[in-house]
Symmetry: D2
Subunit: 343 residues, 4 copies
Amino acid sequence: MIQVAVIGAGYWGPNLIRNFNQIPDARVAYVCDLDASKLTTLAAQYPTLVATSDYVRILDDSQVDAVVIATPVSTHRALALDALRAGKHVLVEKPLAATAQAAREMNAAARAAQRVLMVGHTFIYNPAVVKVKEYIERGALGEIYYIDSARVNLGLHQFDINVIWDLAPHDISMILYWLGRRPLRVSARGNSYTQTDIEDVAFITLEFADKIMAHIHVSWMSPAKLRRTTIVGSKQMAVYDDLEVAEKVKLYDMGVEQLALNADTRAELRRTYRVGDVISPRLDVAEPLRVECKHFIDCIVEGKTPLTDGDAGLAVVRILEAATRSLREGGRTIELEKDSALL
Amino acid sequence: MIQVAVIGAGYWGPNLIRNFNQIPDARVAYVCDLDASKLTTLAAQYPTLVATSDYVRILDDSQVDAVVIATPVSTHRALALDALRAGKHVLVEKPLAATAQAAREMNAAARAAQRVLMVGHTFIYNPAVVKVKEYIERGALGEIYYIDSARVNLGLHQFDINVIWDLAPHDISMILYWLGRRPLRVSARGNSYTQTDIEDVAFITLEFADKIMAHIHVSWMSPAKLRRTTIVGSKQMAVYDDLEVAEKVKLYDMGVEQLALNADTRAELRRTYRVGDVISPRLDVAEPLRVECKHFIDCIVEGKTPLTDGDAGLAVVRILEAATRSLREGGRTIELEKDSALL
Amino acid sequence: MIQVAVIGAGYWGPNLIRNFNQIPDARVAYVCDLDASKLTTLAAQYPTLVATSDYVRILDDSQVDAVVIATPVSTHRALALDALRAGKHVLVEKPLAATAQAAREMNAAARAAQRVLMVGHTFIYNPAVVKVKEYIERGALGEIYYIDSARVNLGLHQFDINVIWDLAPHDISMILYWLGRRPLRVSARGNSYTQTDIEDVAFITLEFADKIMAHIHVSWMSPAKLRRTTIVGSKQMAVYDDLEVAEKVKLYDMGVEQLALNADTRAELRRTYRVGDVISPRLDVAEPLRVECKHFIDCIVEGKTPLTDGDAGLAVVRILEAATRSLREGGRTIELEKDSALL
Amino acid sequence: MIQVAVIGAGYWGPNLIRNFNQIPDARVAYVCDLDASKLTTLAAQYPTLVATSDYVRILDDSQVDAVVIATPVSTHRALALDALRAGKHVLVEKPLAATAQAAREMNAAARAAQRVLMVGHTFIYNPAVVKVKEYIERGALGEIYYIDSARVNLGLHQFDINVIWDLAPHDISMILYWLGRRPLRVSARGNSYTQTDIEDVAFITLEFADKIMAHIHVSWMSPAKLRRTTIVGSKQMAVYDDLEVAEKVKLYDMGVEQLALNADTRAELRRTYRVGDVISPRLDVAEPLRVECKHFIDCIVEGKTPLTDGDAGLAVVRILEAATRSLREGGRTIELEKDSALL
């Protein structure tokens, strides 16, 4: 039985507690927060849970195997380093850290302590995202050309991080997972309308080798929620729309190759909305956070490296950092591998 | 009765002929194309229509009041200049010209000939676009912050112009019309996947004074058609989705001001998709092309300046030119008013 | 070249003229209507068309091969009988006649004159409807259990016929075509709210042998348009939604057999919206009315029996008649083959 | 603090426990089920909860104020009667009882014991349903003409009750709540395809005074889930679609009166999908089951009659009973007030 402590009882913390408690091999022993009212609520709900405002107490308890950090991102580094040095396995909510430098220190500490360091890129454990990965892996889409993602909604503004750090980690982690590679260049444009220096709208471009491109639109100011990603390949194309209840993933059996070659098809497209069949595959029914929590426990028990390990967390943070810098420099292209400030 | 000649009998030409013929004050007297089979088809349909492959014959006919040019964009300049110099009023399909320089020559020729020069920015005559303009004019949206537009679909590739020149004129003309101002800076990123040097995917950013921003995504390689524009203001927001059959325009009665000020609203947004009422207004039933054709005839008869005159056409062409240049220079920001090549 | 005369220049007449004129083997020679303004409009559009208010002139013209009747249903019988007796082939808009008795007379007249009698059940020529028929024919759906159809919208009230006669012919003709059989029993419930004795809402049930059932909801008073038919089979199910622009037909690869047998599936359904893949097939791009018009011409030229011949028209009329009677008798079940008034 | 015991730990029981535990004035003291594994799971989750397979123990515990019955419907009567006679307040899941006779006995027992008897018609506590009620109460819809409801999905078959008893209680309870009256006549048609004598598809008609009609379609065999109710009034119309995430209720500001009177509007409807504005109102964010549980506790504490009391439960059961009888008698109209078997 893995004993888990959850630090941070805000919006996400209770979800983590509920999910870890439903895994047979795990039990949440502690919850830690500075807000006493949140502790009281959780303690009432989980009578065996120890609620504390002192996280040192957790680190000192040798019964605790793992620490889950769901606090504001600026605190991730310090909490994770302390926990790793205390010999705990650590799961950190996304984004892994507030700077690439912090993420690197955390990775180093995990290696030194020989402990699991995992980041909560939940979407990687989402059956829809996994299905798209399957399509890509078995070549169904052909060569990938570009990915376009929109993650916009109204008003979940943060006060400490901008919209890129709040929303884009989801898209970036999916894109890196699907492509299996890292971008060469990052750029972004956007603005802060409601708060000084906290951008609430951004358009981000990632450029990879082989002309592969990804574009991400994130916003806290869009009246209608969108969670929609299009993956365009040479053979087929896919759309993943997380707001669709019954048909989250659609595979369009028409690719760019066919379009380019076929005059009849081109003529037909003038008169219709699409050509080719569309398939919406059956998806596994699984709560992604449950899968993620279980994966963390499995990695601890079996000594495995997580799918979303500290390196995956670092890769995302580097892009967030570069995108924010680009945005603030008027959309300048940031060369990820050549920019010493990013190394 | 205004006698009209239509040059270009391709995809759009027959629509122009049908619409002009349904305006009481106008009659299409000539159609001109180099493709004899297209002429035959149209002649059979409209027995009184003179079909010719020689446009000089049209210019020489003093009965012809107006020439409508629906040919490939590279031919717009020469045809329009000849027609204007022959004393004809001219309606040119969008985009007005292949270069800003050509557009300027066309404007000068129209002024010299004292003839109407109009560009076919059809969306400006669309009841949905007009409704959004009304909202903006009467302050319903408050201060405009940003506009985000997606115009993507599968496969209507052009061989002579890239996707920016093909699709973005619609969005750019709407945005300039709504905002009533011109951008200071333009940038774009994109790629050509299926043809050498003909970009088929692009992401364009327009920056205006007062931090107003517009973003346009155009693509010929997206499996699912999108025609969706979001207008974000300080008081309210609007979405114009041209693919919606019954609710093309939606007005969301919640603006950024309210969001920023109201803690309860922010909390509520965590738990729901939206706050505030949504109104989808009744729209006039009108075919935009019919309204456009009628406006052209009215301008001729009444000596008025068209809503989409040569200057409006030039403004769009300058942005198309800048966007394509930016794209080819890796997304570099183009300062519209400072770049001598654009003046 | 088949010479066609169109009688009735109301809503549907101009569509018929346009379509017949685009078929190489046909030409519309006459249009007939009592409304002179409609004739003037059409004559301006088609200069070679003879416009007349006297249909006898058409019947007397031996050059005319075929007469298309698009007048109010109460006039179908007399016009069709006169045309058939004058040796013309006849296409009648749906429904074929105002009574089953009239439809029988028309069929008899067609047989006696050895002329084609066809009814304009347009949906039978719709690629989406044909695709569903293909699925059924090749057993993809298994045994058909029931069909549920909704055809509702706002306000296209008729003054001479009720909503059953106005809208249900579409659904009934599709259902008979798909099932390849006739119902044993018909019942209907509904009401007239806006006009005395002209029902504007109805719910119709058709019962076939082998427990097959069809239900049709028609209304002129529904605020949101619906055109949606579900076909439930033992192996798979299909939905045909005519308002969907890109995915009109969907095939759900899960049937009742599987559901009944599989406990895991049943449990999974508690947690999700669906199981199994969904396929939306590519459909041919064809205007159903064009296909219908061409089929009429082909039947004349090749001496074939139309897919929607007079018998198909009669079958629909019998059901309309029985449904209206059932509605007016409080929903009483009408036995189609046993009710002498219907034979 | 009201002490609650929940009998029945199946699909719905855990939701009841969670919700009652989140109401400050209530605490779930017992859970009772015959399935030991379900008890074990719940006991682990709620350490202070007493889990038992013996409901008599609950009735004997004088600390228990209220009993919530979430067992199969055939057991409702016996459990409720025992609980009421033991002096407990009782909340019974819908439908209240398996027969109208049983429902009457339960009502009599509640009156005799002077205890609250409430039925779990959850939809009456749904903000969307309440909003429609508000529209009706303040006359926004005018006179109500008819209500049409579809509640269909795939495969949640029950083995002890048919689809009418499983799904229609939701629609019937909403319709009676909105209209504030009871139907005069009930009829239904349907079939059992997958199980003998357990109907899995049904179409139900309710007829009220003043020509008001309601139609309900319920099915366990429909591939695509629908939860959609249309309310047609003389002044305006409303649609409540429970599957819509952001716009569950829409109010169409066009009624039958306007349509009937206005020739221009009728003509416009030929060319468009709708006329008039559409408003989707902001809805309160509330979990209906939470509101329901709180209402039960409030009624106990304040001695109030529940909105969904035993009489409301009986009214629904009478209609379910009549509908099933009608279906089995070939759709015969059942006169609710004249049929002695129903009194």
